[in-house]
């Protein structure tokens, strides 16, 4: 009964979102004022409905209702309760419901927190958002209904949740990511409404900015958690693969970062209005495009969801309708007189423009590289090619370098006029000092210097000094600093920390594959590795070979457990890496194959400073969250 109830509620939600997507527009444009509805009430109702629907899906998981096909495919009686909950959004159908829920949550936030006298404008934003929500609900109900039943003979047990998803990070990572993606709906709807109303740039930018910052914050957290998950779950110690799914999240992230920087300029100076509109549209478009690429199956990927060409066509149609539609309106609208605030080549405006160009061209390049194998195959008549990490790293580096150099000086630039560069010598000297200090620390810690890490470490020092000095230069008191500069300091310093992490881990990592039987030991770097023991364990829904490997560097002994699990329902085997995490270096061991009776292969790694990557990302997320929240307080 409950699944039918959830299904029914989802249909009611569909109908109401259609009303929300049409009535306000008719009222505003067709002048049928009698059709005017309370958008506050409607948005509230939509949110309640989708929440109930989602809760009934969760309920079906918790009570093991395997007559629901989606539950049967993604859960199992022996699955721990915590993962039954997470399995709700563990695959395509449920994740869509969560996505719609997230869009509704953002919409409700927008309606309740945006104070504008222009009710028609708000209604239009609401209506456009409702249209997108309607399209997603339609997509869910017609191609990916999570409430579909297997009747009359339901299976006795479910097929189980994909074992590599049975994990803490995975329970949190998708919701954050979906909230990030779906948050970009709000800037999109605002941008389209801004075109329709030919809104003043400063005004609409001020509406859009907090939501862009908050989505960016969620995207950052979601991506960072995904990276952390991949690091320990996939068992080979990589933290970023340049896999299509990762790129599908990275591209909207880059565009959302570009967008909120552009919005700062638009709001403060009234410039870049049309550019900000286009960016809003494309940030949203790439979040949909990523979904399309991942779920249509046209790109092969480790993360591949259940694939179905029908879904691909439907998603492409949604994408085409909204994005081509809005770009069409954009192209035929005559914006008339645009405020022309002049600015010099070394002004802050120009700095933001450069930042935007770099981010946007980088995003386009990554998107292009991601779909390039398909283009290549089409043009060469079936020849195949892989575009992976080595390519993307080569492309990323010069862009990151230019962006980082710009970031270091960006805060010193002045609005409109030419900036004074008297700060440069000091910035250079201080960042060189910090650079030398970091190099010295690395040398003390690892007894080794790698020239390949120098550029990234200098870049990080440059950004760090540029960010922290600025707060000093402004002579802000402690409280004023907290009030005014905290967000940007967090975000920019976070970027510096992330870059240090990336630079060090990519140069200083060590890895080796070894073969040991219990009791054996071997040397690795300054560590003595000892294979202590291997035991059979029985988990709630898996059996496991659990090996204890000790690392001893003479002063500290760490026993690390790594497991090879065989999940019972599916027979799927996963490797659980053992990690001794530390701020300066991770000791990483993952168990390999059982070669002979009790001889095992292991992959051992030392990953210096890898935590800094996620620490940096966390700071960026906090920074953009604070910046977003600050925008509400301002009004």
């Amino acid at each position: 009964m409950i699944p039918e109830f959830g299904h029914l509620i989802l249909i009611v939600h569909l109908i109401l979102s259609l009303l929300g997507g049409t009535l306000p527009l008719l009222a505003v444009y067709g002048n049928y004022r009698s059709l005017e509805i309370s958008i506050k009430k409607l948005s509230f109702m939509l949110f309640i409905l989708i929440t109930i629907s989602f809760l009934s899906l969760i309920y079906s998981f918790l009570v093991d209702d395997f007559s629901v096909a989606y539950v049967a495919q993604n859960s199992n009686i022996n699955l721990p309760v915590y993962y039954k909950l997470a399995a709700t959004w563990g695959a395509h159908e449920g994740s869509l419901v969560l996505w719609i829920l997230a869009m509704n949550a953002w919409l409700i936030g927008f309606i309740f927190f945006t104070h504008s006298k222009d009710k028609d404008f708000l209604s239009t934003v609401f209506s456009i958002s409702c249209q997108v929500i309607f399209a997603f609900s339609l997509f869910t109900l017609f191609t990916s209904n999570p409430f579909e039943r297997i009747l009359p003979i339901p299976p006795l047990n479910g097929a189980d949740l994909n074992p590599s998803l049975q994990d803490f990070a995975f329970t949190v990572h998708p919701p954050l990511l979906y909230f990030g993606y779906s948050g970009l709906l709000i800037p999109f709807a605002i941008a389209v409404a801004a075109i329709l109303f030919k809104k003043d740039t400063r005004e609409w930018a001020s509406y859009s900015r907090p939501w862009t910052l908050l989505s960016c914050s969620f995207l950052t957290l979601g991506i960072a958690l995904g990276s952390w998950w991949a690091y320990y779950e996939l068992g080979w110690g990589g933290w970023w693969f340049w896999d299509p799914v990762e790129n599908a999240a990275f591209v909207p992230w880059l565009l959302s970062v570009a967008l909120f920087h552009s919005l700062i300029t638009s709001q403060n100076r009234g410039v870049f209005g049309k550019w900000s509109i286009l960016l809003s549209i494309f940030a949203f478009a790439t979040s949909l495009l990523g979904t399309f690429l991942v779920r249509s199956g046209i790109l092969t990927s480790v993360h591949a969801f259940a694939l179905d060409p029908e879904r691909g066509i439907f998603l492409l149609a949604i994408l085409a309708f909204f994005v081509i539609g809005s770009l069409f309106i954009y192209s035929i609208t005559d914006f008339g007189h645009v405020e022309e605030n002049k600015y010099e080549l070394t002004s802050k405006e120009f700095g933001f423009l450069l930042n935007n160009l770099l981010l946007v061209v980088l995003a386009i390049s990554i998107l292009f590289g991601t779909i390039f194998p398909l283009i290549y195959e089409a043009f060469t008549g079936g020849k195949q090619i892989s575009v992976g990490a080595p390519y993307f790293e080569i492309i990323l580096f010069p862009f990151a370098l230019a962006l980082g150099l710009l970031q270091g000086v960006a805060l010193y630039l002045s609005w409109g006029q030419s900036s004074s560069f008297s700060f440069l010598p000091r910035l250079l000297i201080e960042s060189l000092s910090i650079f030398s200090l970091i190099i010295l620390i690395l040398f003390v810690l690892f007894d080794n210097l790698y020239l390949s890490s120098f550029a990234t470490i200098f870049l990080a020092s440059w950004i760090l000094v540029g960010t922290l000095q600025m707060t000093k230069k402004r002579n802000l008191s402690y409280w004023n600093f907290l009030r005014k500069r905290l967000a940007v300091t967090f975000a920019h310093a976070g970027m510096a920390i992330l870059i240090i992490g990336v630079g060090v881990v990519s140069s200083y990592s060590l890895e080796k594959e070894i073969i040991l039987s219990p009791g054996d030991s071997t040397e690795f770097s300054d560590q003595t590795i000892n294979f202590q023991s291997i035991d059979d364990l029985l988990g709630p829904n898996y059996t496991s070979k659990s090996a204890v490997v000790s690392f001893d560097d003479g002063s500290k002994l760490s026993n690390i457990v790594t497991e090879k699990r065989t999940y019972l329902p599916s027979g799927q085997i996963t490797t659980e890496a053992g990690i001794q995490a530390d701020l300066f270096k991770d000791l990483y061991v993952s168990i390999g194959d059982n070669l002979q009776s009790n001889i095992w292969s292991f992959k051992i790694q030392i990953k210096p400073f890898i935590r800094w990557i996620w620490l940096g990302a966390l700071l960026i997320a906090i920074g953009s969250f604070l910046a977003g929240v600050k925008q509400f307080q301002r009004r």
């Binding site: 060409p309 492409l316 994408l319 994005v323 770009l327 954009y330 779909i371 089409a378 079936g382």
Partner: protein, 173 residues
């Protein structure tokens, strides 16, 4: 001019959608074969049925032939097995097996039980010839002509349809 610039994002994005749509409609899962029209690689491996018999390239390039990569752990191989048996009976084409990373006893058992479509099977436990052939997994099927050149390759189950579309034309040459 201004109009053209304003329409540019629309044109670019619309073409992207069209391109993506075309990818969606002609999605082909076949893997590329790097070795088409090149000579069958040299090898030196034992026979599945007789360990002492050493097989080399010279043993298989005398006549046009099919080389089928198979294993007992490969479920799809059992699906295509009856077709290979039928092919052996109906055409006079020689079929060689490449037994890939398999248990020898299980493999011989299977041939005993379900019939043996192969002239002989090369026993490639370590997957060495498979790497030289660019094999991704089992089943895969190669066609070599009388000059010992690889002319066609199929990844996955071979059946009547695949045979007609990809392989039968070579028999008439």
């Amino acid at each position: 001019m201004k109009k053209i610039i304003d329409a540019l994002p629309l044109v670019v994005f619309a073409s992207l959608i069209i391109v993506l749509f075309s990818f969606l409609s002609d999605k082909d899962d076949q893997l590329e074969t790097a070795l088409i029209d090149s000579s069958f690689p040299d090898f030196n491996l034992g026979s599945l049925s007789d360990e002492s018999r050493v097989l080399t390239k010279q043993d298989i390039i005398k006549l046009p032939a099919l080389i089928n990569v198979w294993a007992t752990w490969c479920i799809a191989c059992r699906v295509e097995h009856p077709f290979l048996m039928k092919l052996k009976e109906e055409s006079r084409l020689t079929i060689y097996g490449l037994n890939y990373k398999d248990n020898k006893l299980k493999a011989l058992d299977l041939l005993e039980r379900d019939g043996n479509p192969f002239e002989f099977s090369i026993y490639d436990f370590e997957g060495r010839l498979a790497i030289d052939l660019g094999v991704y997994g089992a089943p895969e099927t190669f066609f070599i002509d009388k000059n010992g050149l690889i002319r066609e390759r199929h990844v996955g189950v071979i059946d009547e349809k695949v045979w007609e579309e990809k392989f039968s034309k070579y028999l008439n040459e």
